[in-house]
Subunit: 170 residues, 2 copies
DNA sequence: CACAACATGTAAGATGTTACATGATTGA
DNA sequence: TCAATCATGTAACATCTTACATGTTGTG
């Protein structure tokens, strides 16, 4: 569970409430890593159950209540241990619906098959262009990590395009 | 759910029993896409419940019983519809534990941080070499798709290595 | 005889998405 | 006043992994 560590990492700097964690995290990630409330709140509850964080309800502006979470010593140790020691897996994703469907491409008309590949290539090019422009909008003030993450996305989009181009050429 | 379509695709050629589906699929995928029984059997049951496949218990050699699954007309239509029409998503995975941990790398000693990057780069190089040798063992008889899948893996491993190298250089 | 391979499954949990449900506050 | 944003959550489902449980058959 990555989100668990993302939350602990944020809380290890300062306390945050749920809504804020989502906004801050997604902004940091350049919107490349969305978080749903359906995952966020249950995860926060579980972290509290495990005594890795504590929760305190705070009155915000007027009648708005916020649940502010703080990391515990246990939580901080757990996080730092993860950061320093644990072998962390990288994900090279080749298990997706599109890739699977190519396996069965010989079942359909070769002309349709080529169309499918060209469509996907076009889709990838558009995505690449969108993220390239996004990347160029970044300034010197943009956090290094955010740039790096976008760079990673672009490199993998390059790889994917190259792959599909190779398939078309063969 | 990708596995569902993988199963239907196999059954759309000829009937298979569960164990065989796993073996055949993983072999076709060059062992890049493992399938657990904990996922396979419940998925087969669900496909049967949805009338996309039918199950028939058959006596194999001696006392061994096999549950042979066949695709129904409904299932065949469903599969072909997926193959021809549905917009299928590609997965560019940037949401993994390792990538996340880099976000917090400024919390640890820069020398340790560099070590972590170098370790991962080394790990990726080993993996790359392993798969390259695997790829070279493929012959003209090897199914095109199997080669293509391995090629995709290698291209994304290249991208990942390039990314980490860039991080080290900066 | 032991061990690998064949064959089928369940239970529990991890990790996530989508849709629903509720209500306050702010700005146009 | 109306929509966007702020704020918190639940329920159902989807997908997948790991560990457990059971028994047969073929091979050295």
């Amino acid at each position: 569970m990555s989100l668990k560590f993302a939350i602990l990492g944020l809380l290890d700097e300062e306390p945050h409430y749920g809504y804020e964690i989502k906004q801050k995290f997604e902004h940091m990630m350049g919107d490349l890593w969305p978080v749903s409330y359906g995952q966020l709140y249950p995860t926060l509850r579980k972290l509290a159950e495990d005594d890795l964080v504590t929760m305190k309800t705070v009155q915000g502006k007027k009648a708005v209540e916020k649940n502010v979470y703080s990391i515990t010593d246990q939580g901080s140790t757990y996080f730092k241990n993860w950061l320093n020691n644990k072998k962390k897996k990288i994900q090279i994703s080749i298990k997706d619906e599109f890739t699977l469907s190519l396996f069965f491409l010989d079942r359909i008309d070769p002309i349709d098959a080529e169309d499918i590949l060209r469509d996907k290539l076009y889709e990838l090019q558009e995505k690449h262009q969108y993220y390239t422009e996004e990347y160029q909008r970044y300034t010197e003030n943009t956090a290094e990590y955010k740039k790096a993450l976008m760079r990673k996305m672009l490199l993998h989009l390059d790889a994917e395009q190259k792959w599909i181009q190779e398939l078309l050429d063969s």
